[in-house]
Symmetry: C2
Subunit: 430 residues, 2 copies
């Protein structure tokens, strides 16, 4: 058995083969995976049942069991997702810029797969299928580390994907790893892995960022806010606050802090108090908030830095939109922040001033998602300012190459006082 | 005097002010800097003369003295560069994608300054002006560390730029640092600095990459190659090889390795031998090369991993284009690689298979440069696969925000079996 280092190094060849493969090859490989998931469903379900049995014995929480279960519905949905991915336009070889430097001397900036990408994610077998599918569609080799509770399911799925794609991709392009020791070893291989995309708890993502020199995209905290402006439609604000908090409270794009303009507070806060009470949401309110919502507990400063990941929310009254923007800059995590307002001026100021991956107006923070954004799917949400920011879909898995085609041009001819000038003419491109 | 940490943290406010400033404000600030460089030329030249005096006492090499000197010509050229930057279209607030998720529910991906960028560069006062200009045009605050030989010039230039822009940018946005201790301290401030762009020796760039958790773009090695195909025009190949090697041998985009198809070797190599002899270039050749160029010394394996940065070159005969591509994958540094060929098939294969920031056909490797590419100017050349790759101009200093404007949409309405579908309609954008 080859060492982990050798197996990871070996993926470089898979990345090369994938980068040279045609659109049709990668599409057919995706469809082969979709077919294999259905034809080998019994193996998948047996492995998944073993994982669930083990998790129950360990006494894991119901929410985790729910995510862990790879039911018929979820398998069907994963298969559908792969078929949809196969029908998306090829992300490889797209021309992003085209410019003539001089007549017949043409520069193009073209998309190209990144190479070898490591992805670390929670115990969700459907996530493994989606992530492997995105990698295959985008021509990247992958190292996959799923949550250990799904170990047996992950192992079977990687095997099925490898076997289904072998007739199309004549090299190892997918590798599953299982132990924390493997993750630690992998994070040291900065020559062999081009990008790490970790998902998971704040502390885990922070650990990855602090223990590797491989570029990392992802997010640690998801401290999202909704600011209810002086010019908000109060009905809309309540609906958005409730959806942002309760539609899926454990998601990174769920709201944790609600900021309310003092002029909107008397109308909005009692309504919010009732709605949150009905949904079982505990409010941590500042003094001003508690005047309008007697059931709220007193908020500490720490509450405004907390990702509750459950039915709790911090609420604060602010005296201006500027105070809200400053609060978000100081307390937020640059993930997703929304304003509710009917004022075009407030919307514009908020959009310009809030420096987050996703800045919304008059809609739920929960829309921050690659599928909802129309990216096909996502491998994660990045709060990095570098490379991909926000939901990361196929585009985020691509790099670019500059391709320059000439007829014998040399720099000497373009240098010095008598050198030829460049004409730098932009050309149309697809 | 505030501590370095406080002064760097303070730049966050400058970044915010810059990000909110209008295009006109940033353009006028650039023009004010250009004017101030001319009106305060005597101060600049006095400081520069002191730097040169000190460097001469230390006995630095003539090439460094040449780069260090901020002559009237170079000042005029820096001023011209700033005026050109001010006339480039605003890189802030450009819409890169626009999509309707549902009628009236519109998503935009918009460019936005990254924030606080640290740039480390060689002892060239003109580089400081160019880099500060790119930062200002793109709305980013900067920490600048120029080569210590230019310390007095750097200090005066940062002061002039700060004073000239103060009437336009009402916050500290530019900070010069000087000592290695300051650089080490800065590299630890991953919360306060969003991106580091180091230029300099391989070992220095590698040091930066290994000692920070701030994202880094740049390149360490510049091992560029020219492959002379079986179907090359031999005259053109000689001209390109000579220009790629001798036009500026110390540049990162100068050629270090020449690969020659065996069918082209008998015609090409004797001509290369003569041309390189005339230019004083020492050839490290493999056995096959030395049959055609008796004056070549025997190449070691290490020569093909070496960035000579001077008048030396490694030359090897290969038996196929595939062998050339594999050689580049194994020995190159993914910076700039060129093929010389009249075969469209060879060009296409090379363009697809070579995974470098810049892949060229029938032109000199020396064209790998932001100005020549038409990017206005460059802060450096990146071999990273993440974010900007190749010459990094204004675009590379931008991140994006997703802006989503709705009318009260909530995710609950789009969820579950009866949920509304998204229609994901692409919209035209500027």
């Amino acid at each position: 058995m080859a060492s982990l280092e050798e197996r990871i190094r070996n993926l470089r060849k898979g990345a090369l083969v994938l980068s040279l493969s045609s659109d049709d090859t990668r599409r057919n490989a995706l469809i082969a995976v979709a077919d294999a998931l259905l034809s080998r469903k019994d193996e998948i379900k047996a492995a998944n049942a073993a994982d669930i049995e083990r998790a129950k014995e360990k006494g894991v929480q119901p929410a985790l069991l729910h995510r862990l279960a790879f039911t018929d519905d979820k398998i069907a949905s994963a298969v559908k997702g792969l078929r949809e991915l196969s029908s998306l336009p090829d992300p490889v070889g797209r021309v992003r810029e085209k410019r003539e430097l001089d007549p017949g001397f043409v520069l193009e900036k073209m998309t190209f797969p990144i190479g070898v990408i490591a992805m670390i994610f929670e115990a969700r077998p459907d996530a493994l299928v989606q992530i492997a599918g995105l990698a295959l569609r985008s021509g990247n080799a992958v190292v996959l580390k799923g949550g250990s509770e799904a170990e047996a399911s992950n192992r079977v799925l990687v095997e099925i994907i490898r076997e289904a794609t072998a007739p199309y991709i004549n090299a190892e392009w997918i590798l599953g790893i299982e132990s924390h020791a493997d993750v630690s070893a992998m994070l040291r291989l900065d020559k062999d892995i081009d990008l790490v995309i970790p998902r998971g708890s704040n502390s885990f993502v922070r650990y990855v960022m602090d223990h590797t020199h491989i570029p990392v995209i992802g997010h640690s905290d998801g401290i999202c806010s909704v600011y209810v402006d002086a010019f908000a439609d109060i009905d809309m604000a309540v609906r958005i606050a409730v959806d942002s908090k309760v539609q899926y409270p454990a998601a990174c794009n769920a709201v944790e802090t609600i900021l309310v303009h003092k002029d909107a507070a008397p109308a909005f806060l009692p309504r919010l108090g009732e709605a949150f009470k009905a949904e079982g949401v505990l409010i941590h309110g500042d003094d001003e908030t508690r005047k309008h919502i007697p059931g709220a507990v007193a908020a500490s400063e720490a509450d405004f830095h907390t990702e509750f990941l459950g039915l709790e929310c911090a609420v604060k009254v602010v005296s201006s939109i500027e105070e809200a923007i400053c609060h978000i800059a100081e307390h937020g995590s640059h993930h997703t922040d929304a304003i509710v307002t009917m004022s075009e001026e407030s919307r514009k100021l908020f959009f310009r001033s809030v420096d987050s991956a996703d800045v919304f107006c008059n809609c739920s923070t929960r829309f921050a998602d690659g599928f909802r954004f129309g990216l096909g799917a996502e491998v994660g949400i990045s709060t990095s300012k570098i490379h991909a920011r926000g939901p990361v879909g196929l585009d985020g898995l691509m790099t670019t190459k500059w391709l320059l085609s000439g007829n014998g041009e040399i720099v000497s001819d373009y240098s010095g006082p008598d050198g030829k000038p460049f004409h730098h003419k932009e050309l149309p491109h697809a």
